[in-house]
């Protein structure tokens, strides 16, 4: 078959995959609707003081967005969460890869990771405030500390589980360390990194709010603190919806397409040979 046909085939495959993706998007939407229905149900049962209905929350959020007051808060929070996430992702993936390659490094790192993973953010808060002040630094640091162990452990395990046979191939053909990383380790490790990244992304979103609640004056967390102190449950839920909505957007616009791209070889490699 000619080279053109090969390219045509790739296009067909990609289209088929996208079609599949979109089709299944309905499944995702359906499940979100189910979630909203459960929320509605609970809200009806308990009354608006405890849990406002989705409608009320969305309406309040609409109001907040319309008068422009919500955008900056959302942007600030998203900025902090993404910064902390990106940091933990970069540092965690790299150190995890390094620890996965060397058994000694991994044994040395493990207890520290456990300590970091299990240390409640409250223990860090004062140090973070001291080091980074009341600006972005503290929430970013808090997010970083919370997400780092998750990413690290994933990367380490991924590296450790690389097939020894492929490692030998890399050695045999004299791949440079950089090529080994990009062409041999990473493609395998990403399949471990992705669940870790997804978990860390969710984590960063929720931790940033906790940190903002405690330490800053702006962002969704601070706004949440205000609406909570006014016992304004509709506004509280509106902020939470804004938060989760941003997270969903980031995940489905950023992480999911990336994942599908990087892992596409699995799709085409799944049928029997």
């Amino acid at each position: 078959m000619s080279r053109q046909a090969g390219r045509a085939q790739r296009v067909v495959e990609a289209l088929a995959a996208s079609g599949h993706y979109l089709w299944r998007g309905w499944g995702s939407l359906a499940s979100l609707c189910l979630f909203l229905a459960a929320w509605e149900e609970t809200a009806q049962a308990f009354g608006p003081l405890i849990l406002p209905t989705p409608m009320a929350a969305f309406a309040t959020l609409g109001g907040l967005l319309d008068d422009g007051g919500a955008w900056p808060e959302i942007a600030v929070t998203a900025r902090r969460a993404l910064a902390g996430f990106a940091l933990s992702l970069g540092v965690g993936s790299l150190l995890g890869l390094a620890a996965g390659v060397s058994m000694t490094a991994s044994m040395m790192a493990r207890p520290i990771i456990t300590v970091l993973a299990g240390m409640p953010p409250i223990a860090w808060l004062i140090l973070a405030l001291l080091w980074f002040g009341a600006g972005d630094g503290t929430p970013v640091f808090t997010v970083f500390i919370a997400c780092f162990p998750i990413v690290f452990v994933g990367a380490m395990q991924g590296t450790r589980t690389l097939d020894g046979q492929l490692r030998e191939v890399a050695q045999m053909f004299g791949l440079s360390p950089w090529l080994k990383l990009t062409d041999v380790y990473l493609p395998h490790v990403v399949s471990y990194l992705f669940p870790a990244w997804i978990a860390a992304l969710g984590m960063s979103w929720k931790i940033v709010v906790m940190a903002e609640l405690l330490s800053t004056e702006d962002g969704i967390g601070a706004a949440l603190a205000v609406s909570r102190s006014h016992l304004d449950t509709a506004a509280s839920m509106a902020w939470i919806v804004a938060l989760v909505g941003t997270l969903l957007a980031i995940e489905y616009l950023l992480l999911e397409p990336l994942k599908r791209r990087v892992e596409s070889w699995r799709e085409f490699a799944s049928s029997s040979n």
Binding site: I50, L125, I126, L129, S215, L231
Partner: protein
């Protein structure tokens, strides 16, 4: 001394900070500093940082916390006691008159082992009750959670401090005079109980202003702040609504009406430490007897009190 370039005031989102905010808003300290700022503190961590980092010159805080910090070696002086009565029971039951009326009931209590809890315990013991056995205390993490439990009818009674009481009453439209039957009531005044049971004045020296760092060694500055604080407090008590608006602008957590309501009922009076010392020592002594950790293990020495 010359004029300071920057003077930082700080306080929690509570009644004691109200005059501080007014001082900043009205430029009451223009004479002593070029720039005056207010920075709220929300939790003990931020307070610790301020105590350490010289990030603030004058900080409003509960008197027991001030004693605690002093005992932990922080160079500070208490320059006044301004908050004398902010503790109330809030209840769904309009009839309760003394703590004994809550016997056997469930009460939401913010901050376990903190000052309100200890005061409650002291008062209960004074009338022959055991706080642990005769009441069902439900500890929550913050006044907010207590309010939420009250409003959502998960508990019927709570021990709250102003302005949380006013916030809760406003939220349920129970205050000041609602057309429909009020839902929640400002019930037993713990200050009254204190006076009645300990046979003292009906007030408790709960919070005041502390001078930190360089300010702790500057009596002239302390005097200036003290005077301005007293003037601002007086203005606020006369103009509660305007004052409330000022505060709410700086501290989102509070609403103007609640601040105004709170000003109307709280016992706020700026007494220099020298005048309050006897009462304060009695109060700290009581706390120390109940739980020494509350004030850092021992009664503060004379260096704690500003002259």
């Amino acid at each position: 001394a010359g004029k300071l370039p920057l003077l930082v005031l700080s306080g929690p989102p509570a009644s004691v900070s109200t005059p501080l905010i007014h001082m900043v808003e009205t430029g009451a300290l223009q004479a002593v500093a070029d720039k005056v700022e207010f920075r709220p503190w929300k939790d003990p961590d931020q307070l610790r940082l301020m105590a350490l980092g010289k990030q603030a010159d004058f900080v409003a805080m509960p008197t027991n916390v001030a004693a605690n910090l002093h005992n932990r070696g922080v160079p500070l002086r208490l320059i006044n006691v301004s908050t004398w009565g902010v503790l109330w029971m809030v209840s769904r039951d309009a009839g309760a008159k003394t703590l004994a009326d809550f016997r056997g009931k469930e009460i939401a209590m913010p901050f376990r082992a903190d000052m309100p809890d200890i005061v409650f315990e002291l008062l209960a013991r004074r009338q022959g009750l055991d706080a642990k056995k005769d009441f069902k205390l439900r500890y929550v993490a913050s006044p907010l959670d207590a309010m939420q439990l009250l409003v959502t009818r998960r508990v019927d009674h709570a021990l709250l401090a102003e302005p949380a009481v006013s916030m809760a009453l406003r939220k349920t439209q129970s205050f000041p005079l609602s057309l429909i039957a009020p839902d929640l009531h400002r019930s037993v005044d713990l200050q009254q109980e204190w006076g009645r049971l300990f046979k003292r004045e009906t007030r408790i020296p709960q919070a005041g202003i502390v001078a930190l760092g360089a300010a702790a060694a500057d009596p002239a500055l302390q005097a200036a702040v003290l005077a301005a604080y007293a003037r601002s407090l007086a203005w606020c008590q006369q103009n509660p609504l305007q004052c409330g608006a000022m505060v709410a602008k700086r501290i989102d957590l509070l609403s103007p009406e609640a601040v105004a309501d709170s000003l109307a009922v709280s016992q706020m009076r700026s007494l220099p430490t020298a005048e309050a010392r006897a009462e304060l020592e009695f109060f700290l002594g009581q706390l120390h007897a109940a739980n020494p950790a509350l004030i850092g293990g021992k009664l503060p020495g004379p260096a704690f009190y500003a002259r």
